[in-house]
Structure formats: C-alpha cells, structure tokens
Amino acid sequence: MKEIRLHGRGGQGSVTAAEIIAVAAFEDKRFSQAFPAFGVERRGAPVMAFARIADHPIRIRSQVYEPDYVIVQDVTLLDVVNVASGLKDDGKIIINTDRPLETLKLNTKADVVTIDATKIAMEILGRPIVNTTMLGAFCGASKEVGLESLNLAISERFKGELGRKNLLAIKTAYERVS
C-alpha cells in the first residue's frame, strides 16, 4: 500500500487533488481511498488531505502518519508545518516552489522534487490554482498512477475548455519531472 499526504492552504484544491488520485488509481484497477484531514475550512489556512493506493481493498481509516509521498502545494507552508513529518526515507516529497532546492529547509532523507507549478498554472490556466499541475508532477515523479488514468479522472471532473487546459497543465508538469 502507498500512502500520500497533501499539504495546501484552504482554497487550493488539496481535497479535490486527493479525490482525483483515488479516482485515477481506481482507473488503473487498483483500490484507493481519499479523505480530507477534516477541519473547519477557511481560505488560506493550512489544510491536509490523504490518499491511499493498494492492490487489495483498503480497510484502515486512520490518518496518514508515515507517507510514501508528500505533495506540498504552497511552499510558504514549510515555515509553519512540518511537511516532511514521518515521510519514509525511500519516499518522495514534491514541492511547488520557484526557490532553489538547497534553500528549502526540510528534515528528510527522502527525495525532494521541486516544480514551479504556480508558473505553469498561471501560463496555462491563467490562475494560481496548482492542484492539477501538482498531480501531473506527482504522476511523473511517482508513477503510482498512470498518466492516462489521471487524464480520465481530470476529464470527468473538469469539462470543456477548462478540462483541456488542466490536461495541458498536467502534461507540462509530468514531462518536467519525468
């Protein structure tokens, strides 16, 4: 079983991103689960969401404490949340940032992948909503969900022009980290 923890701020679509991971993994014929770290939602406040992917039905319902992957949608969270908490040594953390890797203060032995998802999202979507772009990066860096399945899950959620743009954002991020 692989466990994923997403960090973001309220309004950045972290919960939606976790849900899309679950839908995409299921498209891959694997079992999945996604849920938010339930809170009183406020725009801008630190939020978390979780996803699990496995080849067997998933029964456990506790939160994720030792993730295989961490996705950080907003680099300013590094100052307020220990985003790498419990991250497995052989895991990966994918961070949306334009800062150089060596300037990030992270307490982990895991691989750190950085991507300027905000820039990609601004160029393609015209808005700093990075959740789908970060899913492209997660897909490219982890290969835990297939790109085609991810595209299917996105197309189910976002229709028409918005869907097309999100697919392009995903592809761009996927290629950048692969």
């Binding site: 679950a22 299921f26 689960q33 996604a34 938010p36 039905p57 998933i58 456990i60 506790s62």
Partner: protein
C-alpha cells in the same frame, strides 16, 4: 473489485441509495457533516432524477415533525442529521417511534457540544438509544449504502413498524472517496416493496395517531414497541440474508465477526473504526496473538443472544466505543455487561472511550488496547478508560 464499482464520495453514495428507495418526501436541515447527503438529494430532485418532495424547513425539529405527518398519511420518508441536529429532534424521535412510523434517517455521527466540535464520535445516536428507533452502525461506505435500503425494508415490515437510524461516522464515511457499487434502481425497488401501511390518516376513514394514553393503556403501548424491536431482531437477520442473495453482499445481520473463532482477546465495537481494527488484528495474528473482533451492527434492538453466542469462548473482551455515559461508563460496554450477567459468561470485560470529538484511532492504539485487555485476564485494574488521554493538558 466488481465491474460496477466507482470511486465516489460517501455522502453521494448514500444519497444515491436514498434515491433508489424512492421516498415520497425528504425533509432535512443542513448540518456538518451531514450536509453533502442532503445537498446531493436536493440536486437529484431539482434535476428530475428523483421524483420526491424535498421540503426545506427551519430546523431539525421541523424536519422530523413534517415527516411524522407525511408518514402517518402513508408516505415513505427520509431525513438525515447529526449531533445537535439530532438533539433538537429528540422530542420528535419519541413521537415517531411511539406512533410506529417507519421513518429512515442517516445519522452522520458527530460529537455533541459543548465544547463545540464538528468531528466524529457516536455520542449523538448512542445518546438516543432509548428513543425507540432501530439503530444500525456501518463500517464502510458500501455498508452505509446497503444498510439504507435494508433499513426501509426492516422498518416498514408490518410486524416491526418502527423508525430506523442508519449511523455512519461523520467525515470518516461521509467525506471519504472509495470504491463503491451504487445500487441498481430497478433491483432496489424489487427488493423493497411499496410502503402500504394498514392504518393511515385518511379523511374517508378517520383515526387518531399518538393520542392521549392514560395510565390504563400507556404501558401497553411501550410493551408493543418493545415487542416490535424483539421481532426486528429476526427481520434484520432475514433482510441481510435476502440482501445477500439479491446483491451478493453481506456484513452480518445483527453482528459480524472477524477472526474471532479461536480468539482469546476479542474486541467489540461498532462503526468505521472496524477497518483499522481488522488491519491491527491481521498484524497481531501474524505475531501469533489470538485476537479477534465482534462487530455490533445492530445496537437497537440489542442482540443479546447473538453476542452471548459469538463471545462465549473469549478469555477477555475489550469494548471500544465513541461515546460516554458520563457518570456510568458508556453505552455499548454497559449493555454488553448487562446482557452477560444472567448467563454463565464471566470473562473480564473492559471498556474504552476512544475517538471522541474526532481524535484519530490508529493501529498503535488498538495494539495498546489489546495489551491492556491481556493484562486484565490476570485481574482488572481499570474497568473503563479514556483512550489516549493527554495528561499534560489536564
């Protein structure tokens, strides 16, 4: 994994199940974490997918009161609520059950205030255990879907005719996305016959519901409700079997068990924590520990005979529950102990209040409970504990 499975939100899956039951009237007042269920239903009605009357009201009290009237006129009804909303319905809960109106309601279990807390525990519905409703607690989204359909069939049975709550852990099950097989509408309606009560409010045949009962008749009303719940024990089992035959899914009728046959330590609990407990049991079994689980699916009526039978060989029992009866342990553990006293079962039973106000319950927590249960075999040190108590903030 079946071909018809889909990853959807728990609340959507339950709303879809309600749609398949074709209620005539839905009335509810939105309250976290129940909101998504009624939002989806309201959307289904607005889209024309569901031909029901959706009545928006000013409170939970009104929501359930409206349904009491509709049900007395012979309509199939649905509501959903949680926590303070359920508390506000309290008076109407007794009216619905006393008038023998088979309403079905999903409770998205949440803690009671004060202090204000929107997260999951089961204080709300366990606190309403004496109100005369049937109570079924589910462990995952699929069971929430299936139990909702089953609940109508049980509640509307002419020998039962008692309202039912299907209790699903708020957020943990209402907000999770996981693979679910949504109900097939046609199959569901075949499974659930039309609601045709013998006695309804009808101007052509006037009668009164919930009328004045003086001391010479009141006891008999309560006795009949008590008898109806006893009859529900058999109906819940047979409906679960019938559901199994039709839909090929089964969760137990009144109770279910997991690796409990040769278990020395048996955990008894209800709700969504069961999944985590099953994982913990597998891990402990791999280390040679004889641990098992008995799930209480039906809390009202309380399945005394089934529990005595399932637990007779346990050396020690640990009850885990998300409620407290302040001043007297908690609901499930006291009910279990009381149902054993007049039998020959004398193993130690210890109780744990866990997951209160949304505190996470982990595999590690389950391990620590099992350790304490093992120690209790040599003598009970503490009969009832609050799990994971943070002494540093007390």
């Amino acid at each position: 994994m079946t071909a018809n499975m889909k990853v959807v939100e728990g609340s959507y899956a339950v709303a879809h199940a309600v749609m398949c039951c074709k209620p005539d009237v839905i009335s509810a007042y939105p309250i976290t974490p129940q909101t998504h269920i009624v939002e989806h239903l309201s959307q289904m009605v607005a889209n024309g997918e569901l031909d029901s009357e959706f009545l928006t009201v000013d409170s939970e009290f009104s929501a359930l009161s409206v349904l009491v009237g509709v049900s007395a006129c012979g309509g199939r009804c649905y509501s959903s609520t949680t926590s303070q909303g359920l508390a506000l319905m309290y008076e109407v809960l007794y009216n619905a059950s006393g008038m023998r109106l088979p309403l079905v309601m999903n409770v998205a279990n949440r803690a009671m205030g004060a202090p204000l807390n929107i997260w999951n525990d089961q204080q709300d519905s366990v606190g309403a255990r004496d109100a005369g409703w049937l109570q079924i607690y589910v462990e995952d989204v699929q069971e929430a879907v299936d139990a909702t359909l089953q609940a109508y069939k049980i509640a509307e049975d002419e020998n039962v005719r008692t309202p039912a709550m299907v209790c699903m852990d708020g957020f943990i099950l209402t907000h999770v996305y996981e693979p679910v097989e949504l109900l097939d509408r046609e199959l569901a309606l075949e499974f659930l016959p039309e609601f045709r009560p013998a006695n309804i409010l009808d101007p052509a045949r006037p009668m009164t519901f919930g009328a004045f009962a003086d001391p010479s008749t009141y006891t008999e009303f309560r006795y009949q409700q008590f008898e109806a719940q006893q009859k529900a024990l058999g109906k819940i089992e047979s409906v679960a079997q019938e559901f199994h035959e039709t839909f090929n899914r089964y969760y137990g009728g009144l109770i279910d068990s997991y690796r409990a046959d040769d278990a020395e330590v048996v955990i008894v609990t209800m709700g969504s924590v069961i999944g985590t407990i099953k994982d913990a049991i597998d891990a402990m079994r791999a280390e040679g520990k004889k641990v098992g689980l008995v799930k209480v699916r039906c809390y009202r009526p309380f399945p005394v005979r089934a529990l005595r039978q399932a637990l007779k060989d346990a050396s020690v029992i640990a009850v885990i529950e998300k409620d407290v009866s302040i001043g007297a342990e908690a609901g499930l553990v006291t009910d279990l102990k009381s149902s054993f006293y007049n039998s020959n079962l004398r193993m130690p039973i210890i109780g744990f209040a866990a997951g209160l106000g949304g505190r996470d319950i982990t595999v590690k927590d389950i391990r620590s409970i099992v350790e304490r249960a093992e120690a209790a075999r040599k003598g009970i040190e503490s009969e009832f504990e609050f799990l994971d108590l943070r002494s540093e903030i007390l």
